[in-house]
Structure formats: structure tokens, C-alpha cells
């Protein structure tokens, strides 16, 4: 078994490449999901009842779909619509689209729990449209959203492992490649799992740090 870890260590460059892809997919996917999620959250808080309910329906529907099914739908569906993606981009698109729904729901939840006075005061001072959101609403929402966004980022990191099924070169794919070539399943996948653990621990540590800063600003 120790021999297996030697083999994995010899090919650590492949694991490293996989980790870098996992990190890139997670970060770009999360940033896109937060940006689109914030836009969707605005629709979810819209005074227009019909708009609000139909967007909420779409968000709830997305949250009932397993991530792998959405990956397949994007991977097979977009070429159908004439949009051709490589696997990496298809995986990223699925990641961003799927998590947009979760991010929107997180942001909406925090937004609707905030005191209304600041929004009313801002409106009274003539804030409206994009400036109301960028200067008044979202700074407060994001200040309160730290831990939940952190949890979702961990979920995104774990979701990237599904992308191995459409052959995206991420961490699990790298471990699978090493194990298939040298038959060291134990060492290859244990190494991958420990790396996922470290990534999630880094996110948790980062959130704790940001919380301290947020606490000081409150």
C-alpha cells in the first residue's frame, strides 16, 4: 500500500494540475453564480407578483434537480441549440447555472431578513435602480452572507467532482487517471480526498477570518 503512495507522489504533477483545475472551476463558477444570483435575487424581491412567482418557481425547480443531470443537459443540450462548448466550458457553465439558483435563494433569504429602514431612507434620498443595489442593498446583504456563501463554495468544490463524468480534467479525473494506469486505487483516491479536505478547510478558515472583519464593521 505504501508503494501506491510512492507512485502517486511520482505523478503528483498530474494531481497538482487536477487541483488547479478544480480550484479554477470552483472560483470562476462561484463568482459567476454570485453575480447572476444577485441579479436573480433582485427579480425574487421584485414588487411585480407574476415576475416574482415565476422566477421563484424556476429557482425552486433548479434546486430539485441533481447536479449531474444538469451537467448532462448542458453537455448534450447546448450543442443542440447550436452552441458548441468544450467539456471544460460545459462543466463551468453547468456549475455556474446550477449554483446561481442556490446563491439567489441565499441572497434573497438574507435580503428579506434585513431591516427595511435603510432601504426606505435610501429611496427617500433619491437612490433608485442599480445604484440602490450596489451602494445600499448588496453591501449589507454580503456582509451578512459570509458563512452561507462559504458553505455554498464548499458545495461547489464537491460538485466539481461530478465533472469527471464528462471528462473534465479536475482532481478526481486526475486521481482516476493515475489509478487506471498503475492500479493504485487506494493511494490515488485517498490522496484526492485529503486534498478536497484541505480545500474545504481553507474555505472554512477564510470564512472565519472574513467573519472577524465583518464583525468589526458591524
Amino acid at each position: 500500500m505504501m508503494h501506491g503512495f510512492d507512485v502517486v507522489w511520482e505523478h503528483s504533477d498530474r494531481l497538482l494540475w487536477g487541483v488547479l483545475n478544480t480550484i479554477a472551476l470552483s472560483i470562476v463558477g462561484a463568482v459567476l453564480a454570485v453575480v447572476f444570483g444577485a441579479l436573480v435575487a433582485i427579480l425574487l424581491m421584485s414588487p411585480n407578483r407574476l415576475l416574482r412567482l415565476s422566477v421563484q418557481g424556476l429557482v425552486d425547480l433548479m434546486r430539485c434537480v441533481p447536479f449531474l443531470m444538469l451537467v448532462y443537459l448542458v453537455y448534450y443540450g447546448l450543442p443542440h441549440l447550436g452552441i458548441d462548448f468544450d467539456n471544460w466550458t460545459a462543466g463551468l457553465a453547468a456549475l455556474a447555472l446550477y449554483n446561481t439558483a442556490y446563491m439567489a435563494e441565499i441572497l434573497r433569504g438574507i435580503w428579506s431578513g434585513l431591516p427595511r429602514e435603510t432601504f426606505e431612507a435610501a429611496t427617500a434620498f433619491g437612490y433608485h435602480g442599480p445604484r440602490l443595489y450596489t451602494r445600499i442593498v448588496f453591501p449589507q446583504v454580503f456582509l451578512a452572507a459570509g458563512p452561507m456563501l462559504g458553505n455554498q463554495l464548499i458545495q461547489i468544490i464537491k460538485d466539481t467532482a461530478f465533472l469527471t463524468i464528462i471528462a473534465v480534467p479536475e482532481l478526481t479525473q486526475a486521481a482516476s487517471g493515475i489509478q487506471a494506469q498503475y492500479f493504485v486505487p487506494f493511494a490515488a483516491f485517498i490522496a484526492a480526498i485529503l486534498i478536497y479536505w484541505a480545500l474545504c478547510a481553507i474555505v472554512e478558515g477564510g470564512v472565519a477570518l472574513i467573519e472577524k472583519v465583518a464583525e468589526a464593521r458591524r
Partner: protein, 214 residues
Amino acid sequence: MTANAFLSLLQGAGVTLIISLSGIAIGVPLGLVLALVRWRRIPGLSQVAAVYVSLLRSTPAVTLCLLIFFAVPTLGIEIGAWSAGIMTLAFVTAAFNCEVWRAGLLNFPHEQVEAARAFGMTPLLRLRRIIFPQLWRAALPGLVNEATLLIKASPAIAVIGVAEITRAATRIGAQTYEPLPPMLTATGIYVAIILVFVGLQRLTERRYGRGAGA
């Protein structure tokens, strides 16, 4: 998509349900044992349980499934795809269930435990007669929530060839060169299953109150 294809998707749904429910049936009690070990602060075991929960909560189900399916046979134990799939889901959900049970235990009124001790009840009797009858009600909404997440993670076991919904859909897609119709149908089946679980969760929440930590 033919009627036959639809039937094999439904069959896949049956496999998904059987494997997920088996995972839950193992994972929920296992989670309770882990939570009790941590709650009673049993030296050594408590730390092992804490590491287990932290590690499994950050492990993707796909990776764990590959590990179990490929590595367990190297230890000289034969394992089929079904058993590997059930073990994967059980191990993952046990870590999350542990946290739900533990939140319930931490919120449990301490006076009751002390009163039971004053009456001379043994730890096991306290658990069986005093703690558990109240604990499961508090934990139920959280456990159902974890069950929903488990169903959403269950396509991970398609990677080792278990013929559940996702696998059935990709197979039909490969045979007919039309992957979208079976994928959309499979997604619809998942949504239906998950909506049932979400409904169950609302029901348990209404009935037993919002569970601690849920």
C-alpha cells in the same frame, strides 16, 4: 423515446430509491452512534468521530464511490457495484446525520438527564426512555432534509455502473443517439422524487417543529 426506454428509466428510479433508502437505513443509525460518541466525549473514539465527520463532509460522493469500488477489493474483500454504491451513500449521509443528531443532543434539556440519573437510571436506559423519544422528533426535519440531499447526490454511483436513473438515461441516449429526451425524462423523475421528500420535510416540520440545527 420508446415505451421500453421509459420503462427502463422507471426501473432505474426503483434502483435509485432502493439504494438511497438502504443508504439512509444504514446512515441514520450510524450518524446517531457517531453523535452519541461525540456527545459522551468518549476519549479517543470522540476524536475519531470528529475527524470522520469533517473528512466525509468535504469528500465528493463520486470520489468516495471510486475509492470504495476500486480499493476495497485490493484488501481482499469482494464488493459489487450495488454494495459499493450503498456504502458510499451511507458513509456520506452518516457524517451529515451525525451533525443533525448532535445538534438535537446539545439542545436537549440537561435537567431531564440529571433527573433520570438521580432516579438511578443507567446511561442506556436514560437514552432509551428519556432522551431518544424526544430526540428523534427534534431531529426528524433535519434528517429528512439530509435524505433529500442524499437523493440529489445519488447519481454519483452511476460512475461505477449501477443501473440507476442517470445510468439508464445515458444508456438510452447512447443507443438512440438522442440523449436529450431520456435526460429530460430522468430529470423529471428526479424532480418528482425530490418534491415528495420536500413535501415530507414540510410535513415533519409542521408536525414536530423546526428541528434543532436543521
